[in-house]
């Protein structure tokens, strides 16, 4: 039987992997995917806590409701984000972060 700590660890690991993706990758779309992974990892934490906080024998659904909101937000974010990326690609023909350094200093 997996314990709460194991779930927390797995989610933490996933979260860290997402962060690694953000740091390492240069393709904005992949970076964006990594960010989604981070959100998903956070969801896992929530669900795990929700499941282990038994509320009168049932999982605490407040947490799962929050996951629902996270997913919605993520979807909205992805939509807007991809729109911006597309607009950027139209303007600059690139989605490489290294090309986005016209403002600095």
């Amino acid at each position: 039987m997996a314990s709460l700590n194991e779930f927390l660890f797995i989610s933490g690991l996933l979260f860290a992997i997402g962060l690694a993706g953000v740091i390492i990758r240069r393709n904005i779309i992949v970076i964006f995917m990594s960010l989604e992974l981070m959100l998903a990892a956070a969801s896992l934490t929530l669900v795990a806590f929700s499941r282990f906080h038994l509320h009168e024998g049932l999982p605490d659904y407040n947490g799962q409701v929050f996951v629902f909101f996270i997913i919605t937000v993520a979807a909205a974010e992805v939509a807007v984000g991809l729109a911006i990326i597309v607009a950027l690609y139209r303007a600059r023909q690139t989605i490489n972060v290294e090309d986005l350094t016209s403002m600095r200093g």
Binding site: G12, L14, I24, F52, V73
Partner: protein, 196 residues
């Protein structure tokens, strides 16, 4: 949740995550992400969060990933250029997350969850207790107190929470989706007359 299933799905999720970061081709990354999300969905379901698990598959693996792949295809993206990863970046990208994991481990270790941290099954009796909060003719009550096979009606329960207690955030969420839609339209529309 059975340990084996847990480890399987966990491995799936993490492998998917690592592939997502490691694959050079964005499409491969996207597919790796689907893999990871499938693993996550498995974990959700193992945690009796059926609704979330399904939504994870539907929304993420289904809608969002499709969107990603669609955009990748649309923009006709190739691999990242051969002069790939700068070693310092990679190093930073490995060390920082590793340290983060260490910190998370430290936090986890700091506090023995004890009894609460152990996985407890949801029994029919506990479901029956909870059922008292709901009207007897409601679907939730019926499902929880089903004489033969009481099932956790988690979709109903979440829906109940969202539309009663979480009504207000839900309204805000509606506005959020509206704005997102607007944004997508604004950002991707072409001007009627091309700027000279």
């Amino acid at each position: 949740m059975h340990s084996i299933a847990f480890y399987l799905f966990a491995l799936l999720a993490i492998t998917g995550g690592i592939f997502l970061v490691a694959f050079r081709n964005p499409v491969s990354s996207a597919l790796a992400m689907v893999l990871s999300f499938v693993g996550l969905a498995g974990l959700f379901i193992g945690l009796n969060a059926y609704f979330v698990g399904i939504v994870q598959i539907l929304v993420y693996a289904g809608a969002i990933m499709v969107l990603f792949i669609f955009i990748i295809m649309l923009l006709d993206l190739n691999d990242e250029k051969p002069v790939k990863f700068k070693s310092t970046t990679v190093l930073a990208g490995v060390i920082i997350p590793l340290l983060l994991v260490v910190q998370i481990l430290g936090v986890i270790q700091s506090h023995n969850t004890g009894d609460e941290g152990a996985f407890k099954k949801i029994t029919a009796s506990s479901m029956a207790i909870s059922a008292k909060e709901f009207p007897e003719d409601s679907a939730i009550h019926k499902s929880l107190t089903h004489p033969k096979s009481p099932k956790l009606p988690d979709t109903n329960l979440i829906g109940h929470a969202i539309f009663t207690r979480y009504n207000f955030p839900l309204q805000i969420m509606g506005v959020l989706l509206l704005v997102a839609t607007m944004g997508v339209v604004i950002l991707s529309k072409r001007s009627s007359k091309k700027a000279s």
